[in-house]
C-alpha cells in the first residue's frame, strides 16, 4: 500500500542528488542574476514579456563578451502573481542559486512581499513595473525603473485638465494595484487642477466584457474617458466602445506602450492620448531585437525590464559581484542612456522620470511632449 509513497520518495531523493550534484559543478567564471515575475497564471503575459526583455539584455551582454569574460546566467523564477510563490522564488534565487542581484518582481503586491526580505538579505531588487507608491521606501536595496503611479498619474491629471482642457472626465479602471494606482494618482491631480471625475467605473482583472460599464459611461455625457489598464483589456474596451457607438476621447496610461495594442484594437486605438515613458535613442533597435528574438512585440514593461537588466549588468561590470557593491553602483547610476532615455535614481531608489504624452494617429503613437510635475505645476521638459 505504501509502495507508491516509497517510490515517490526514492525518486525525489534520486533527482535531488543528481541536481544538487550538478549544481555544484558550476563554473567559476559565471555571474548569476535573477528574475522574479508571474510566468504562469493570469498575469503571465506581463511577467513573461519582462522576463524576455531581461533575457535579451543578458544574451546581448554575453554575446558582447559577458562581464570581464564571465558569462552572465539568468535564473528566472515564477511568482504566479502571488506573494508566497514570489517569496519561494526569492529564497531559491538568493540561497540556492546565490544570484548577486534580482530584477523583479513584476506586480506591486509580490514586490512588496519580497522587498523586505531583499532588504534584510542585502540584495539589490530592481523592479521594472511595481509602480505603487511606497515600494522603494522599504529600503535602500529597492529600486525600480518605472515611474511611480503618483508621477504618471500626476502628469496625466494635469495634462488632461490644463493642456487638453477637459473639465468633466469619466474613468474605467481595473481593481488591481496597477490600474487603480494610476487612476488614483490621476484623480488627485486632475481634481487639484480643477477638473471633475463625473463617473468612475471599475472592472475585475480578467474581465473581458465591459459593455455594461461603457454603456453607463456613454450615457454620462463626459468629455473623455480615462482607461488605465493592461493592453489586452484596453483593446477590448476600445473595440466594445466602438461597437456601442461611442465617439469619445479615450485617455490612457503606459499600458498603451505595448505595440500589441495595434494588433488587437487596430483603428480603434486611433485618437487615444496616453502617458508613457519617453523613448531613448535605442528604442527602435530594442523593439526590433526583441521581435527577432521572441517573435512578439515587447510588452508594456519590457523596456523598463530591459533597462533594469542593463543597469544591473553595468553595475556588476563596475563593482564586481559583491551584493552591496552592486547596490551602491546602481544607486550611483548617472545618466544611463537606455531605451527609456536617460536614467537616474532618486535617493529612495525611484527613477528620476519624466512622463511622455502620446497621441495615436493611424496606429502610430505621435510624441506630444515630455512632462513633469513640480509643486503642482505641470512643466514640459525639453
Amino acid at each position: 500500500m505504501k509502495k507508491f509513497f516509497v517510490v515517490l520518495l526514492v525518486a525525489l531523493v534520486a533527482v535531488t542528488a543528481v541536481f544538487a550534484g550538478g549544481a555544484k559543478e558550476a563554473a567559476t567564471s559565471q555571474v548569476k542574476i535573477g528574475f522574479i515575475g508571474p510566468l504562469t497564471g493570469d498575469y503571465a503575459n506581463y511577467g513573461v514579456r519582462c522576463y524576455q526583455a531581461v533575457q535579451l539584455a543578458v544574451d546581448e551582454a554575453n554575446a558582447a563578451g559577458g562581464i570581464n569574460g564571465a558569462q552572465i546566467i539568468l535564473y528566472a523564477e515564477d511568482s504566479e502573481g502571488a506573494p508566497d510563490k514570489a517569496l519561494a522564488g526569492f529564497e531559491k534565487l538568493v540561497n540556492n542559486d546565490k544570484v548577486c542581484a534580482i530584477v523583479g518582481a513584476v506586480l506591486t503586491g509580490e514586490t512588496l512581499a519580497i522587498a523586505e526580505k531583499a532588504q534584510e538579505e542585502g540584495i539589490l531588487l530592481i523592479s521594472p513595473s511595481a509602480s505603487a507608491d511606497g515600494v522603494t521606501d522599504i529600503g535602500s536595496y529597492i529600486f525600480r525603473t518605472t515611474p511611480n503611479d503618483g508621477l504618471q498619474g500626476k502628469v496625466a491629471g494635469y495634462y488632461f485638465a490644463k493642456v487638453l482642457g477637459i473639465k468633466n472626465l469619466g474613468a474605467l479602471y481595473a481593481k488591481n494595484d496597477y490600474s487603480q494606482g494610476l487612476y488614483e494618482g490621476m484623480k488627485e491631480a486632475f481634481e487639484a487642477a480643477g477638473g471633475k471625475i463625473t463617473i468612475a467605473e471599475t472592472c475585475m482583472v480578467g474581465d473581458k466584457d465591459f459593455k455594461t460599464q461603457l454603456t453607463k459611461l456613454r450615457n454620462a455625457n463626459v468629455e473623455a474617458v480615462y482607461i488605465p489598464n493592461y493592453t489586452a483589456e484596453m483593446a477590448q474596451q476600445l473595440e466594445q466602445a466602438a461597437q456601442l457607438g461611442m465617439n469619445i476621447q479615450f485617455l490612457s496610461g503606459d499600458g498603451f506602450t505595448d505595440a500589441q495594442i495595434y494588433d488587437l484594437a487596430g483603428d480603434f486605438a486611433n485618437g487615444v492620448i496616453y502617458t508613457g515613458p519617453t523613448p531613448g535613442a535605442e528604442n527602435q533597435t530594442f523593439i526590433n531585437n526583441f521581435k527577432k528574438a521572441f517573435g512578439v512585440d515587447p510588452g508594456t514593461f519590457s523596456t523598463n525590464a530591459y533597462d533594469a537588466a542593463n543597469i544591473v549588468i553595468n553595475a556588476i561590470k563596475a563593482a564586481g559581484t559583491n551584493r552591496s557593491a552592486i547596490r551602491d553602483a546602481v544607486a550611483a547610476t548617472k545618466d544611463y542612456d537606455g531605451v527609456l532615455g536617460l536614467i537616474n535614481f532618486e535617493s529612495n531608489g525611484d527613477i528620476v522620470a519624466t512622463t511622455g504624452v502620446y497621441l495615436v494617429q493611424n496606429q502610430v503613437p505621435v510624441f506630444q511632449g515630455n512632462y513633469t510635475v513640480v509643486d503642482g505645476v505641470l512643466s514640459e521638459v525639453k
Binding site: 504562469t40 497564471g41 493570469d42 503571465a44 503575459n45 513573461v48 514579456r49 481593481k175 467605473e201 471599475t202 472592472c203 475585475m204 480578467g206 474581465d207 473581458k208 466584457d209 459593455k211 455594461t212 460599464q213 454603456t215 453607463k216 450615457n219 493592453t231 489586452a232 483593446a235 477590448q236 466602438a242 461597437q243 456601442l244 457607438g245 500589441q260 494588433d263 488587437l264 512578439v296 510588452g299
Partner: protein
C-alpha cells in the same frame, strides 16, 4: 437610467453575455448530466478550440481580402476545430476520467483540475501568453437601431447559441443516440442491462460537449480575444449558469445562461451595484437559487429513497 434606449442597450449587452454563458453551459450540462461531476477542464477545451479555430481560419483565408470567403473559412475553421476538440475531449475522458468511474466523487473532480492545469499551461507554453485577435469574418460595424448599437457578431453569438440548443434538444429527444444518452444519465447500470454501451455513450457525450465548447470558444474569441486563460472564469460562470438553470437540462442551461448575463448587466446598470462586484453577482444568484430551489430553475427534484 437615463433613457429607454439605455435600457435596451443594456438588454442587448446582457443577452449577448448571456448567450455566451448559455452556449458553454450547454456543454457543461450534458457532461454533468451523464457523469455527475464538474468538468473543470471544460473551459480549457474551449480555449484550445478557440486557438485551433484561429489558426485554421488564418490558414484558410490566407492572404485573401475580406469577403464571403472569409465567412465560409470561418465556418469551416469552426467545424474543424469542433471536430478536433471532440476527439480531444474523448481522449481526455478515456485517459483521465474513465479510470475513475468507480472511485470517490472527488477523484474525477481533482483529475479534471489536473487536466485543466495541463491544458491552460500547455497552451501558454506552446502558443505564448499574449492575447491574439481573431479577425471578424464579416464587417462588424455596429448597427444602430433607434439609438441602440448592436454589433453583428453579437447577433451571431445569439443565433448560434439558439441553433445549438435546438439541435441539441432534437438530438437528445429524437435520435437513438440521444435516447441512449438520457437512459445512461438516469441510471448507468440499468442502461447497460438494456444493451446500451454506456462507455461509448459517455465518450460520445464528451465529444459533443467538447465540440460545443470549441464552437463557443470561437464565438467568444470574436468578443474577447484568444489567450491561454480565457476559459477559466467564463467556464466557471457557465457552470453556475447550468446549475442555476437546472443541471442536466438543456433548456435550463440556456435559460440559466441568459438569466446570468442579464442579471450581471442589470445588477450593475439598474441596481447600482459597483461594477467590480460583477463576478460576485453571478455567485450570489447561484447561492440564492440553490437555496430556494436546489435543483435549479428547470431541474427536477430528486427525493432520496428511504
Amino acid at each position: 437610467m437615463s433613457s429607454i434606449a439605455e435600457f435596451f442597450q443594456h438588454l442587448v449587452n446582457g443577452l449577448t453575455l448571456g448567450g455566451i454563458y448559455a452556449l458553454i453551459a450547454l456543454g457543461y450540462t450534458m457532461v454533468y448530466g451523464i457523469l455527475k461531476f464538474i468538468n473543470f477542464a471544460h473551459g480549457d477545451i474551449l480555449m484550445v478550440g478557440a486557438y485551433l479555430g484561429l489558426f485554421i481560419f488564418n490558414f484558410l483565408r490566407g492572404g485573401s481580402a475580406m469577403g464571403p470567403w472569409w465567412f465560409v473559412a470561418f465556418i469551416l475553421a469552426m467545424l474543424a476545430s469542433m471536430l478536433i476538440c471532440a476527439l480531444l475531449g474523448m481522449t481526455i475522458e478515456k485517459l483521465a476520467y474513465k479510470p475513475l468511474r468507480k472511485a470517490t466523487r472527488l477523484a474525477p473532480l481533482l483529475s479534471a483540475i489536473g487536466v485543466s492545469f495541463m491544458l491552460s499551461n500547455g497552451a501558454a507554453w506552446a502558443w505564448g501568453t499574449q492575447s491574439r485577435k481573431l479577425d471578424y469574418p464579416f464587417d462588424n460595424t455596429p448597427l444602430n437601431v433607434l439609438g441602440i448599437s448592436i454589433a453583428p457578431h453579437q447577433i451571431l453569438i445569439l443565433v448560434v447559441a439558439t441553433i445549438m440548443m435546438v439541435a441539441l434538444t432534437l438530438f437528445v429527444s429524437k435520435s437513438r443516440m440521444g435516447k441512449a444518452m438520457r437512459a445512461t444519465s438516469l441510471d448507468q447500470s440499468t442502461a447497460k442491462l438494456m444493451g446500451i454501451n454506456s462507455d461509448q455513450i459517455i465518450s460520445l457525450t464528451f465529444g459533443i460537449g467538447s465540440a460545443l465548447a470549441a464552437c463557443g470558444g470561437m464565438l467568444i474569441a470574436l468578443d474577447v480575444k484568444v489567450y491561454a486563460t480565457m476559459g477559466t472564469m467564463v467556464g466557471l460562470k457557465a457552470f453556475v449558469a447550468a446549475v442555476v438553470g437546472g443541471i442536466g437540462n438543456i433548456g435550463g442551461a440556456m435559460l440559466g445562461g441568459l438569466l446570468l448575463g442579464l442579471l450581471e448587466t442589470f445588477g450593475i446598470a439598474l441596481l447600482g451595484i459597483p461594477t467590480s462586484y460583477k463576478d460576485a453577482i453571478a455567485f450570489a444568484v447561484l447561492i440564492i437559487v440553490l437555496l430556494v430551489k436546489p435543483e435549479g430553475i428547470m431541474g427536477k427534484a430528486e427525493k432520496e429513497k428511504v
